[in-house]
């Protein structure tokens, strides 16, 4: 059993906690921006519907935030509990962004508290809108700082290791690593993209369920447009992430692409099946030159193959599927949003059909899956390192034998939190359909 081995159990619990937290964290980063956009349009155009959108979204926002706080606190403390040696080292070099992150939390929490409880306390709605800006910035800063830590794990720098002692620490150099620019932007942009598609899915779902209110149509059009913009940004920055990998973590890229021999004009293999002994890939979709382009922006460029690396430091080959799932979902969502936007402009009827709306609904879980796949690829692809090239997972884990039991307790907790979120949110909006809210605030003026 994996539970008997502290290392395996620690990895297991870390995966579970992070994969769960990232759902709520994404919501925490993305939703404030969407509320901001809706409220801004509402104030500008003096359109009650957009203001209501902001109001309803922020009401629903509270529940995932609360769960995000709990899971975030859990992972924060767990990092020290499960990976004491890593945190000891990390504390010496990369504590600064972690520390600054807590101020981002403070900032977000304070202004969110004020924003949520002051909807009707300001005479000037713009003042209330202003309160959102620190919330959105705070959420983005949380992602910014924590992703900086993760970048450091992928390309550690800013210190020297002399006889196992850490010397010449430069906290700023440790923050601004080669992995940092692409990682931070990719994470933040994908959060915005995912939340836009989440809101689009909710609107499409309401329309499917019989409400024909123009409110939902406005919401759908707005969020699909935002989703389109951010999915394009995602793909562009994703491409830069590939170039980063080629330069600094070639083994991760090679494992993700099942690219074994170093060669020029390398093709990109999508999906397929691998025979590990012969390193033959069958049934794959082969895109000529694409890997060379992804890695170096030049169809002829040479891409380092996995066989150049000793067996012990080769990442698991499963990350190929994680990578392909992420990219496929990204391309699919971009196409979907483009089609919808074009269809609405051109007056094509099918974008308003039932089946098309069902696909939009599906887009939300898919986008969240893409986030999970992306992280799994990034983290599992770092194997066997926790700090690439310096500290292995094996050496970093706790030696306590109780991780297994503890894991079961946490799984129970996350199960309750996950199910509870869905149940409570459903009940909240079922009891308050948009028609009821519109009557409630009718004539009451904006916010």
């Amino acid at each position: 059993m994996i539970f008997d081995d502290p290392v395996a159990a620690s990895r297991f619990l870390t995966i579970i906690t992070l994969s769960f937290h990232i759902i709520y964290a994404t919501i925490g980063v993305g939703v404030p921006l969407l509320i901001m956009i809706a409220q801004w349009i509402g104030i500008k155009r003096n359109d009650e519907h957009y203001l209501l959108m902001a109001r309803r979204w922020s009401k629903g926002f509270i529940v995932p935030v609360a769960v995000g706080v709990v899971t975030g606190t859990a992972i924060g403390l767990q990092l020290s509990l499960l990976w004491p040696s890593f945190m000891e080292l990390a504390g010496n070099v990369i504590a600064l962004p972690l520390f600054m992150e807590t101020f981002a939390f403070f900032f977000e929490a304070i202004f969110l508290g004020i924003y949520l409880y002051t909807w009707d306390r300001f005479d000037n709605p713009k003042k209330h809108f202003l309160l959102l800006i620190p919330v959105a910035i705070g959420g983005a800063m949380s992602a910014f700082f924590i992703t900086i830590v993760n970048s450091f794990m992928n390309s550690p720098q800013g210190f020297d290791l002399v006889n196992g002692q850490i010397v010449n620490v430069n906290p700023l150099a440790a923050m601004f690593t080669p992995a940092m620019p692409t990682k931070v932007t990719h994470v933040i942009v994908t959060a915005y993209m995912t939340i836009a598609f989440l809101m689009a899915a909710i609107a499409a779902f309401r329309l499917l369920k019989g409400s024909n209110h123009v409110y939902h149509k406005k919401a759908l059009y707005l969020t699909m447009k935002i989703g389109l913009i951010f999915s394009i940004a995602t793909a562009i920055i994703g491409d830069f992430s590939g170039k980063y990998l080629a330069a600094y973590q070639p083994e991760k890229l090679a494992a993700a692409e099942w690219h074994f021999e170093t060669e020029g004009a390398a093709p990109l293999l999508m999906w397929g099946l691998l025979d590990e002994d012969t390193q033959e890939v069958s049934y794959a979709l082969k895109v000529p030159y694409a890997l060379s382009i992804l890695a170096h922006g030049d169809p002829m460029a040479e891409v380092i193959g996995l066989n150049e690396f000793p067996k012990e430091v080769q990442p698991p080959l499963i990350i190929h599927y994680y990578f392909d799932s992420m990219v496929s979902i990204g391309v699919f969502m971009m196409g979907l949003a483009l089609l919808y936007w074009f269809g609405i402009r051109m007056g094509w009827a099918f974008v308003k059909s039932k089946w098309f709306r069902w696909i939009i609904v599906l887009g939300a879980p898919l986008s969240f899956l893409a986030i999970e796949f992306g992280w799994w690829m990034a983290e599992v692809g770092r194997y066997p390192w926790i700090l690439r090239g310096l500290l292995t997972i094996q050496d970093a884990a706790t030696t306590s034998e109780y991780v297994g039991i503890i894991s079961i307790l946490f799984i129970l907790l996350y199960f309750v939190l996950g199910v509870g979120t869905v149940v409570v949110l459903r009940r909240m909006f079922k009891n308050n359909p948009i028609e009821k809210d519109i009557t409630k605030y009718e004539g009451g003026g904006p916010s």
């Binding site: 509990l81 600064l96 403070f106 508290g113 002051t118 009707d120 620490v169 307790l409 907790l413």
Partner: protein, 340 residues
Amino acid sequence: MMLELIGISVLWLFLFGYIIVGSIDYGAGFFNAYSIITGKEHILSKIIQRYLSPVWEVTNVFFVFFFVGIVGFFPQTAYYFGTVFLVPGSIALILLGVRGAYYAFETYGSRGHKGYAFMYGLSGLLFPASLSIVLTISEGGFVYIEEGNPKLDYQALFASPLTWAIVVLSIIAVLYISAVFLTWYANKTGDQTATALFRKYALIWAIPLILTASGIVYELSSHNPPHYERIFNLWWMFAISLILWIVTVWLIWHKKRYDVAVWLMIFQFAFAFFGYGAAHYPYLLYPYLTINEGFTNQAMAISLIVAFILGLSLLLPSLYLIFKLFLFNEDYVRGRKEKE
């Protein structure tokens, strides 16, 4: 030398802030559950809604700040405490999860389930209790090194009267702090029934508080004599704390100036808490880890302190704003303005 003192003082100060705001929150949850179960009904639910809901997330950040900060300033704590604190720490996290679920599902969703209120109240008492174990561990005697790894001796830990004295003190302190604060707050909202109730709670818990606190000092005399001696050398801090306690209780007894009582109570805990901390100095974990050996490198220390000052200059005005809007705003406190 200076830098580690700054570091530990900042952390101790935030921990103290957390203990005060956290206790108010946890105690309120308990009183709420208690009043629902004994049929006194929702005297408290309203206060929890009005005051605690907007600020509980902020309260939690104080906690996060502490454990992130201590790993930053004293990275070796991650190694020593991380390994031995796995079980109590995880239990604390689960309890925190239960409380978070209440805020997420009960306060914001629909209301009125007794079981939830009960879980919420209970987890709020057990959470500080499980965290307080870390104080016991830091006194030394429960951690040994095996094959180069720190291990916790659970048997010795749970058999020690010191452990239980600290656990009991943490629970009583939560109830006392909370009751004193809520007496003032209820009085401010003009709710006489609630005021009388909390006043009674505050008086009930005042005596056990001092008894257990003295019990711990007595326990230390045999468990950790050097620490005990240092506490003795700082006797004046504890004496001031005691006097503040007497005046607080006197004020509450005579139904006078509840606002002053709250401040005196805060200072009472401040003196005891900082006296205890100063006596603990320089050890983080007896006898393995001191703040001098465990301190981070110069460059990191300076950048953390700079970040702290910058962060604080953003934080203080924001904190002022939220407290002004929710805690000290007459209209809001009395519930005159409707909220969403």
